[in-house]
């Protein structure tokens, strides 16, 4: 810690956001990292705590105080090494993480936390810009091969790590490009997709084979995978939508948010000349000129709004069943250092979206064409799905041409590998894989498929830990020479009330500038 008094002298400076009136006209990242000196000053706010709660709050166990200080000193390359020691893809988490590290930062007790996430992202970008991030294929090959099903952050991370151990890794992705929901669920305003391509290219150069457009279970059987590979990792995410239970759900103009976002992202990709599947014209969901109502106040909902506004929606409104929470402070139940439940401003609201709290949809009313025209709703009270209480006489109607359902996912899709291999699942429908091993020998699972919907950062952590177990299964030591940090050896699941656990589970993180969290229904 070069400057113990940095936090007393420098105030928090976040990213430079573009004017919402301007940014709404394009699909580029809506913010930019500050200039170098600002970043260095911000790094100097880190107090190098005796117990760095940020480091614990981060599912990856990022060595945050170390690289904050190195950035403060301008030692970017050393910072990058420290960052890469625990995080394979800092350029992702540096952009789209709800940053449980920052809410656990000691400065968050009575001040503004260190801008950890943007420092992380800046280190990564600096590394790419300087050409420090280059393929580092393993020196020796083990002769073992692994198939990874799914190329989301968990699949990419498990592949990257296993490749470093020297195993030959093939990643199967049913969509046309890798990245999973990072690519198709997150708008470019938050994560421009060349960033994923850049990393995937590097992984390919290190020897990982990405097979896109191949649906395991359909285009290739899981048995074939098992026969051809020494191990199989299931990283298929948690993709079964939670549905809205209300009359009129079947009406036209009522869609799952993720279907909309998939289309929008493909549309943007096509516009930029990147490969993208064409949506059949009859299936196109468009918000242009429409009154859009989004059910669900999580990040997916926000992302829907931001897209809708860019498309030219006449209005974009979120109906959130939960009550408004204070924007500041620590409500009971999430005292520091736990990630707080707060209701904060989001980029999408800045851009013109509206949000209504405590609003439960009771019915969707269609017009003559069978398309929705009105959303009936009522005020409710309560803080969780279990204690929602309607307020008598509070019903109202909301005109709507497009209704998007963004209330999360219930678990992994069962058709495909899970059914084919007969993998045991837990009561929530996730693949049962205690320490990443499923009920089938040689088959592993990680990421949302194992733990339910969660964060990118959690997915990467899952992939890293899973890789160690796969390696041991393949006769390795579970250690990567180049990276000695032992963080990834912590494989036990902590007390479910622990900061680490809270950071790693999605439910605790509700709203904010996060890519993915979904509603808080723990069901």
């Amino acid at each position: 810690m070069a400057d113990p008094k940095g936090f007393l002298k420098v105030e928090r400076v976040g990213p430079r956001k573009r004017d919402p009136r301007e940014r709404i006209h394009d699909y580029h990242q809506y913010f930019a990292f500050p200039e170098e000196q600002t970043l260095r000053d911000q790094g100097g706010r880190c107090m190098s705590c005796g117990i760095p709660f940020c480091h614990e709050g981060c599912p990856l166990g990022n060595l945050i105080p170390e690289w904050n200080d190195l950035v403060h000193q301008g030692r970017w390359r050393a910072a990058l090494n420290r960052l890469h020691a625990t995080n394979n893809f800092p350029e992702f988490t540096g952009l789209i993480c709800p940053a449980p590290c920052e809410s656990a930062c000691v400065l968050d007790i009575n001040d503004d936390p260190v801008t950890i996430e943007q420092i992380e992202g800046s280190i990564a970008e600096r590394g790419w810009a300087e050409g420090w991030i280059v393929p580092e294929p393993p020196d020796e090959r083990s002769g073992k091969t692994v198939a990874v099903v799914g190329s989301g952050p968990a699949g990419m991370a498990v592949a990257a790590e296993l490749n470093r151990f020297g195993h030959r890794v093939t990643v199967f992705e049913r969509d046309e490009a890798v990245g999973g929901l990072m690519r198709y669920g997150v708008p470019d305003a938050k994560l421009e997709k060349w960033i994923i391509d850049r990393r995937a290219g590097l992984l390919a150069a290190e020897g990982i084979e990405f097979v896109t457009g191949v649906d395991v279970g359909t285009d290739v059987t899981t048995e074939q995978l098992r026969a051809r590979h020494d191990a199989v990792v299931i990283a298929i995410g948690s993709r079964v939508h939670r549905d809205l239970e209300a009359p009129g759900r079947e009406l036209g103009g009522v869609h799952f948010a993720m279907d909309y976002l998939y289309q929008r992202n493909r549309c943007v990709a096509a516009g930029e000349g990147r490969p993208a599947r064409q949506t059949p014209p009859d299936q196109v969901i468009s918000a242009e000129g429409r009154r859009v109502v989004v059910v669900g106040g999580g990040d997916t909902g926000m992302d829907c709004i931001s897209n809708a506004l860019r498309e030219g929606a006449t209005s974009a409104r979120i109906l959130d069943v939960y009550p408004e929470l204070p924007a500041q402070g620590r409500p009971p139940g999430t005292p520091w250092p736990l990630p707080p439940k707060r209701t904060t401003m989001t980029y999408a609201l800045e851009e013109g979206g509206e949000r209504q709290f405590g609003s439960q949809v009771t019915e969707l009313v269609g017009g003559e064409d069978g398309c929705v025209i009105t959303v009936r709703a009522r005020q409710v009270s309560g803080t969780s799905s279990r204690d929602v209480e309607p307020v008598p006489g509070s019903d109202w109607e909301e005109p709507a041409d497009l209704v998007l359902i963004a209330i999360g996912f219930t678990g992994p899709e069962t058709h495909g590998p899970i059914e084919d291999l007969g993998l045991a699942t837990d009561r929530r429908g996730n693949v049962k894989a205690g320490v990443y091993e499923t009920s089938e020998d040689g088959v592993f699972a990680c990421g949302d498929a194992r733990i339910g919907q969660s964060l990118v950062v959690t997915a990467i952590a899952e992939g890293r830990k899973c890789a160690r177990m796969v390696d041991r299964h393949l006769g390795g030591s579970g250690e990567v020479r180049r990276v000695t940090s032992e963080t990834m050896f912590a494989i036990e699941d902590g007390d479910e009330h622990s900061l680490r656990h809270q950071a790693e589970t999605a439910g605790a993180v509700t709203v904010g500038d996060a890519f993915w969290s979904g509603p808080r229904d723990e069901g």
């Binding site: 030692r75 400065l107 007790i109 180049r482 000695t484 902590g494 009330h497």
Partner: protein, 1494 residues
């Protein structure tokens, strides 16, 4: 001695005492000498002690010349002429058969040596005159008369024969047989008696015919009460008041020397003397035996003692070159026996005394015109008319006082030393034979291989923290880094992070029985000088003896190590031994290799090699390093056992060592020098990577780190009270925690290891594990985080981690609306996980053999919490907000808070913010009579867990105006408390301080805070015997606030061990019921409390945990003043962020108590009292199958000692007997009532003697109780006293009281002076020049805050130490004057010793410099010599006039008479910081705008 049971080991018993001698010159032997000796002894009685059985003394004895006239008449034996017969004073078994056996054994040996058995005399004793315990153990005492064989040429030869016989008899090891003396010149009468009992027990001593020209007496204060008659002093040649800190090393080295001993005086008899020492004899006895060997071997007593206890001679230009040569030469023969020591010795012809180099014991002498000479621990032991006194003086550090009784002369130190120095051409020999490192020619490296740095770092277990937290800061600052908040990391034996072997070794430190040294302020006595090379016959003196390589410090740069490796064979013969072993051999290979190494070393020694370099540079992909400490110790002990150790010097070249502690371990286990090459290479790497300041060269970085390590080494030495690396080498001042006993016994022989632990297999596997991470390695590979100094997920486990901190805070604050649930989570996590992974108590579980009871039957929580204390955290370390809220919380709880050592704002005395425990630490900050009187408990902080053996430290940026005001110091100036209390150099001093504090507040409990280490139990027993009410046993792991990083990590041991040892020792000594025992050190939960109670604690201290409840989040930046939650900072911006509330503390600690209740119900125990000491309720948890933890064996902690009295309580029941009834203040107070109660003036005259201690203290206490800090108006009480005042005269003296003493005074005069006036002047009849003679003792005005003192004559060492406000005039002082002074005025009208003004940051001293040498004796690191201004000249003149008026001093008169001339002869000593503060004050006054309404 009783065999050790459980943790209590008699070898750690200590003693200290009063010592004296009396001699008469120019007259024949007389009984009067004896009588006066015995009178002196009786007058030192208060320095001795009694055990649980009040009649049994700890020991008293007398050494005199053989009383021929008496023996001729009484022996019943036909005696030859004096000189031709000797007397053996025999302690024999009481049982007749055994006695007969012993008698025959002695006789047989006498005859075997060709001498004649003349006959036996049963020594008459009066059995009723000793205590019960002593009586039960009393030996049968008889004297054997032995006639000299005719062929013996002289008496010296006869003495040698008697010596040989005695050694042989000793070696028989016969139980119950001990020869107290066996000489033709002297005889010793001693026993387990108190001073007055001695002559009553031995009627011989009262017989008029019992005559001697000299008498050496000793009164013992032991930390135990075991029956041990032979442990009384004097021994055969000496009596010792003090303690040998380096004993373990001295013994080992002596053992190593035995093989080389040869002397024509002994011839073949020499072998009969061996072994010279055994492990079961005390330090004093060991000292005695080696001195005896040297004297019998032909050296004079003065020569012998000067070799063993040399004064500090390097960097002392005022010593004659020849004298320095004498010491330098002898340093090649024998290492100093280091430690506080006043040693009085006699061979029957001369009698003398010397003092250790630090002057850590008192010694006052007196010579009269009619030939009486006396020396004693105190003045006033001999009744002499003032007009008869020729001179009075004191023993000075490292100096001798010698009386040649035969020739009737008193010899000065100078004369004796000059004689010694001229015996041989020592200087010439040194010039000829000593080799200096820089004399050796440079060599190109001859290294087995070049490995990548990263591989080496990984293989040796380096972490990123080693570079970032330790090495880089050392290069920055040339000093060890500071850290905060204690050590809550896992014990090495429980760690899964492969800690180095060094981490298992915990530094020992001095507490109570001997003082730590301040290596910074008193650097003059310290020495890092190291020597490498062979040693030769101790009994001879040749130039060959000093043929050694001498280095200024023990760290070798890489190129220096290379010079040594390739040294020219004509100078030395060096060889390197490889410390690595082949990886392919697996863990087993390590032990084989270790044996090979030892064998190889033997062969090299046999082949004439005299320097062995143990090196792990051969590390590589296929070879792993053996822990360097293991190899070093193994080779050292192997060669010691083999008897060849002294033929070689050991050098260790290792990549493993990277901390000061590592270097210290290597040296303490035998290395003369260490080359930590990876440390240097890493430093170069840091330099290359730009991690060091841009303008710092690589060489400079290296030099700074060496300097930092040197300072760190001195600190480690000094915390044990050791001054020189020379005597630290091989001294093994460590306790192993978690190392297998077999490993320790074989390779670390003599080291304490009490709970077993890892063996060679564990160590080998960890070494291989580290190695496997290093190969193959890439330079880009990152080092592990470490996580020792700051928590990391993948680093070392910490008891305080995100989980425990967060859940505790949630519980204490009720953040989640359910405190109980959050607490339960916290407690479960701590008890089942955190403690299990980090602390010994985690390995214990409750016994199944219990009958649970209903929880309602357990005493209520509100009773339990009364036993809770918060730790001594000072205001200064903590913010006022945190400090006050904590106090309020503890008060509301019903527990007690502790001020810490920073004093307390008077405004808090009378409300909820009051800390009822007031701490008295070595800095004595704010310790006024007002502070004392407003306490319920006074706690003497002897040591603290974070940094035992060191003083507290508060960095300057935390000393704001408020803090400085409370501490009577200068704002902005950092405060480091002295490592020792300068009034506690020994156990009898502690007893005195306890007495002083009782006078200061008779209603308060007196507590002594100790830190767990081996022997703490015996110290605690000593504390109980010193009359304390309360003792705290702190663990090594606690600590809040700032400390050196290495001290936090490596000093002290877990409280579980120390507490169990304390409990067992107190029970063994039947002292348990009279003292309250408190435990602290990372206490967090009810389970911690219950385990503490079971292991022996009545009360429980919590420090870190309540701070965390109040918001502390373990930032560990207390030392930086940047605490972001306002707990440990004085920055107003940050203080405003403090959010703690008293309820947080109350909530938390009540939940702890409730948890404890639930456990007690489960264990079937109703009250805490019932729980204390119930070790049957705990067993070691056999379910823990951790690969390392399962090697630990905690059974010794759970031993139930055999209690002396059936059903003696295991907990506190009865306070100690009152002691103040003998104080003359009781009477004084009555007579002063009119002044105190009615404001009348009181004037009194009373006599005083040295047994009257702390006179004025009790009186002042009553004044402060009624009148507060203001006391009484000036002149209210005037007391004239006559005689020799006892210690602590005028302690805490309150305003309005003036004590005027005619006579002289002992140590600690004016301690804590709080506004009163003290005057001491010689008896009016005295004819000697007062200004040349000593009138008061050492350590005057320690911690004085206010008041005036005038001393007509000389004072001792450390005059006005830590004075913070008193004004004083004295006519000359000893060494270390005005040390740590922060305020007040000191005027010295005569000579000063060395090291004046060390650490002085405030106040002004005026020193009359008539010899012109003062500037050279002043330590100018913090002060400058300034002009005396006009105003100051007036102030000074007024003070000297007052001195003249109050003492009648002609010296003052002379100065006043010609002031214009006189003022120019004064030197003004002005601290830089004080000057700055004064300027700041002046600036503020000039610019101050009066506040409205003010």
């Amino acid at each position: 001695m009783k065999p050790s049971a459980g943790l209590h080991d008699p070898q750690f018993e200590h003693d200290a005492c009063g010592v004296a001698f009396v001699a008469r010159l120019g007259r024949p032997a007389s009984h009067e000498v004896l009588q006066r000796g015995l009178l002196a002894l009786e007058r030192l009685e208060h320095r001795g002690a009694e055990g649980a059985d009040a009649d049994t003394g700890d020991g008293a004895g007398i050494l005199i010349q053989l009383p021929h006239e008496f023996f001729a008449a009484e022996s019943g034996v036909e005696l030859p002429e004096p000189g031709r017969y000797g007397v053996a004073m025999c302690f024999l078994p009481q049982r007749e058969a055994e006695r007969e056996h012993a008698i025959r054994l002695i006789e047989r040996n006498v005859e075997a040596e060709g001498q004649r058995v003349l006959g036996w005399r049963d020594v008459p004793v009066v059995k009723s005159e000793c205590g019960r315990v002593a009586g039960e153990a009393a030996p049968y005492i008889a004297e054997l008369f032995v006639g000299a064989a005719d062929e013996l040429p002289d008496q010296d030869a006869f003495e040698r024969k008697l010596y040989v016989i005695r050694q042989v008899v000793d070696h028989s090891g016969l139980d119950g047989l001990n020869l107290a003396s066996f000489s033709s010149r002297t005889v010793v009468y001693k026993g387990m008696l108190s001073a007055p009992q001695l002559p009553r027990y031995y009627p011989d001593l009262r017989d008029e015919r019992f005559k001697s020209a000299l008498a050496l007496v000793h009164s013992r204060f032991s930390t135990n009460t075991f029956p041990s008659w032979e442990l009384a002093h004097p021994y055969r040649m000496l009596a010792h008041n003090g303690e040998i800190n380096t004993l373990r090393g001295n013994r080992n080295w002596m053992q190593a020397r035995e093989m080389q001993l040869a002397s024509p005086l002994f011839g073949d008899d020499l072998q009969k003397l061996l072994p010279l020492l055994s492990d079961d004899i005390s330090d004093s006895a060991s000292l005695d035996r080696v001195m005896e060997l040297l004297v019998m071997g032909g050296r004079s007593p003065a020569h012998a003692i000067s070799m063993m206890i040399p004064e500090a001679y390097s960097g002392r230009p005022e010593l004659h070159q020849r004298v320095r040569d004498f010491y330098a030469y002898h340093s090649s023969l024998i290492e100093p026996w280091d430690g506080p020591a006043a040693v009085a010795f006699s061979d029957g012809r001369v009698i003398g005394a010397t003092l250790d180099r630090n002057g850590l014991r008192p010694g006052r002498w007196l010579v009269t015109r009619d030939g009486w000479v006396a020396l004693a621990s105190e003045t006033g032991v001999l009744d002499v008319e003032a007009e008869d006194v020729q001179a009075k003086g004191r023993l000075r550090p490292g100096k001798l006082f010698l009386v040649d009784v035969e020739n009737g002369r008193v010899l000065s130190d100078g004369a004796v030393k000059r004689n010694l120095a001229e015996r041989r051409p020592y200087g010439q020999w040194l010039d000829d034979r000593v080799v200096h490192l820089e004399d050796l020619p440079p060599k190109t490296p001859r290294v087995p291989r070049v490995e990548p740095l990263r591989a080496k770092q990984l293989a040796f277990g380096w972490s990123e923290e080693d570079l970032r937290v330790l090495l880089a800061p050392m290069a920055h600052a040339a000093a060890e880094p500071t850290a905060s908040m204690g050590n809550d990391a896992s014990l090495a034996a429980l760690s899964d992070r492969r800690p180095p072997l060094f981490s298992y070794f915990k530094q020992l430190f001095a507490q109570v029985t001997n003082p730590a040294v301040d290596p910074i302020r008193e650097s003059v006595v310290m020495s890092l000088q190291a020597t490498i090379g062979p040693e030769v016959n101790l009994l001879d003196e040749t130039s060959e003896h000093c043929h050694q390589l001498v280095m200024p410090q023990p760290l070798l740069f890489n190129n220096e190590c290379e010079r040594l490796r390739q040294v020219d064979h004509s100078v030395f013969e060096a060889r390197t031994i490889d410390m690595t072993w082949p990886v392919e051999e697996g863990p087993d290979g390590m032990e084989r290799r270790l044996d090979e190494i030892c064998q190889h070393a033997s062969e090299l020694v046999a082949g004439g090699v005299n320097i062995i370099i143990l090196s792990d540079r051969n590390l590589g992909a296929e070879r792993a390093p053996i822990p360097s400490l293991l190899v070093t110790a193994a080779v050292h002990h192997h060669l010691v056992r083999e008897g060849t150790r002294l033929k070689i010097g050991l050098v260790v070249e290792t990549g493993e060592a990277r901390e000061v502690h590592h270097i210290a371990c290597l040296i303490a286990y035998g290395a003369s020098a260490v080359n930590p090459y990876v440390m240097f290479e890493s430093l170069t790497g840091l330099h290359r990577d730009g991690m060091l300041p841009e303008d710092m060269t690589n060489d400079e970085a290296h030099r700074r780190v060496v300097r930092a390590i040197g300072k760190g080494l001195l600190k480690i030495l000094s915390k044990m009270g050791i001054s020189t690396i020379r005597s630290y080498c091989g001294a093994q001042i460590f306790e192993a925690v978690g190392v297998d006993k077999a490993v320790v016994d074989r390779h670390f022989t003599g080291t304490t290891s009490r709970v077993g632990g890892v063996g060679l297999d564990h160590l080998a596997r960890e070494a291989l594990d580290r190695h496997s991470r290093a190969y193959p390695a890439a330079e880009s590979q990152l080092l592990p985080s470490g996580g020792i100094y700051a928590w990391r997920r993948d680093g070392e486990f910490h008891g305080w981690n995100p989980e425990t901190v967060a859940t505790l805070q949630h519980a204490a604050r009720g953040d989640n609306g359910n405190s109980a649930a959050d607490y339960e989570r916290f407690a479960r996590y701590v008890n089942e996980e955190a403690v299990r992974k980090s602390a010994l108590r985690g390995l214990l579980r409750y016994s199944d053999d219990v009958e649970p009871i209903e929880i309602d039957d357990v005493e209520p929580a509100k009773e339990i919490v009364k036993r809770f204390k918060s730790g001594g955290m000072s205001l200064g370390a903590l913010s006022p907000e945190a400090h006050e809220i904590l106090a309020v919380g503890m008060n509301r709880l019903g527990g007690k808070s502790n001020t810490g050592e920073g004093g307390e704002d008077r405004a808090r005395f009378f409300d909820e913010r009051r800390s009822s425990i007031k701490q008295v630490a070595s800095g004595r900050f704010g310790v006024t009579i007002d502070y004392l009187v407003n306490s319920d408990e006074l706690q003497i902080k002897v040591a603290q867990g974070a940094k035992p053996g060191e003083g507290g430290q508060l960095p300057g940026h935390k000393v704001d105006g408020y803090i400085a005001g409370l501490r009577y110091s200068t704002p902005g100036v950092g405060l480091i408390s002295p490592p020792p209390h300068h009034d506690i150099y020994s156990i009898e001093d502690l007893k005195q301080l306890i007495y002083d504090l009782r006078c200061g507040n008779p209603r308060a409990r007196i507590s002594v805070k100790l830190v767990s280490e081996v022997g703490v139990g015996t110290v605690a027993a000593g504390v109980a015997k010193a009359n304390a009410d309360h003792v705290v046993i702190a663990g090594h792991d606690g600590g809040t606030g700032a400390s050196p990083a290495a001290s936090i990590q490596h000093a002290g041991v877990p409280w579980e061990i120390g507490l169990a040892e304390t409990q067992q020792t107190l029970l063994d000594n039947d002292l348990r019921s009279r003292i309250v025992v408190e435990v602290d050190g990372q206490m967090r939960t009810g389970r911690d409390m219950v385990v503490g109670a079971i292991l022996g604690a009545d009360e429980f201290g919590f420090s870190t945990a309540p701070l965390i409840a109040l918001g502390c989040i373990m930032m560990r930046v207390c030392h930086l003043n940047t605490c972001p939650v306002g707990v440990a900072t004085q920055d107003p911006v940050l203080r405003a962020k403090f959010a703690g509330q008293p309820e947080h503390v109350v909530n938390y600690l009540f939940m702890v108590a409730e948890e404890a209740r639930a456990i007690m119900a489960r264990l079937g125990v109703r009250t805490v009292d019932e729980l204390i000491g119930r070790t049957d309720l705990l067993v070691q948890d056999e379910d823990i199958d951790h690969w390392k933890a399962s090697s630990l064996d905690l059974s010794a902690l759970l031993v139930e000692p055999a209690r002396p009295a059936l059903n003696a309580p295991r907990h506190f029941t009865t306070p100690p007997d009152p002691v103040l009834h003998d104080s003359i203040d009781v009477d004084l107070l009555q007579r002063c009532r009119p002044a105190i109660e009615r404001g009348e003036r009181v004037a009194l005259e009373i006599p005083i003697a040295n047994k009257n201690r702390a006179v004025g203290g009790l009186l002042s206490s009553e004044i402060a109780r009624i009148h507060g800090t203001e006391g009484l108006p000036e002149g209210s009480i005037e007391v004239e006293l006559r005689g020799s005042a006892g210690q602590s005269f005028g302690a805490w003296l309150a305003p309005g009281v003036c004590l005027s003493l005619e006579g002289d005074a002992n140590d600690y005069i004016g301690k804590g002076l709080s506004g009163g006036t003290l005057i001491v002047r010689p008896h009016r009849g005295a004819t000697y020049p007062a200004e040349d003679n000593v009138v008061i003792g050492n350590v005057a005005l320690y911690g004085a805050t206010q008041g005036r003192a005038f001393f007509r004559g000389l004072a001792g060492e450390r005059f006005a130490v830590r004075n913070s406000g008193a004004v004083t005039v004295v006519e000359g002082i000893g060494d270390h004057g005005c040390e740590y002074m922060t305020g007040g005025r000191v005027v010295v009208l005569g000579p000063t010793g060395i090291n004046f003004a060390a650490g002085m940051s405030g106040g002004i001293a005026y020193v009359l410099d008539d010899d012109g040498g003062f500037r050279g004796r002043c330590n100018t690191e913090m002060v400058r010599f300034a002009e005396i201004s006009e105003a100051e000249s007036k102030e000074l003149l007024a003070l000297i006039e007052e001195h003249r008026d109050r003492t009648g001093s002609p010296v003052a008169e002379g100065l006043v008479g010609d002031w214009a001339d006189a003022v120019g002869r004064f030197v003004k000593v002005l601290p830089f910081d004080y000057e700055r503060a004064l300027a700041e004050e002046a600036r503020q006054e000039a610019t101050a705008v009066p506040a409205v309404g003010a």
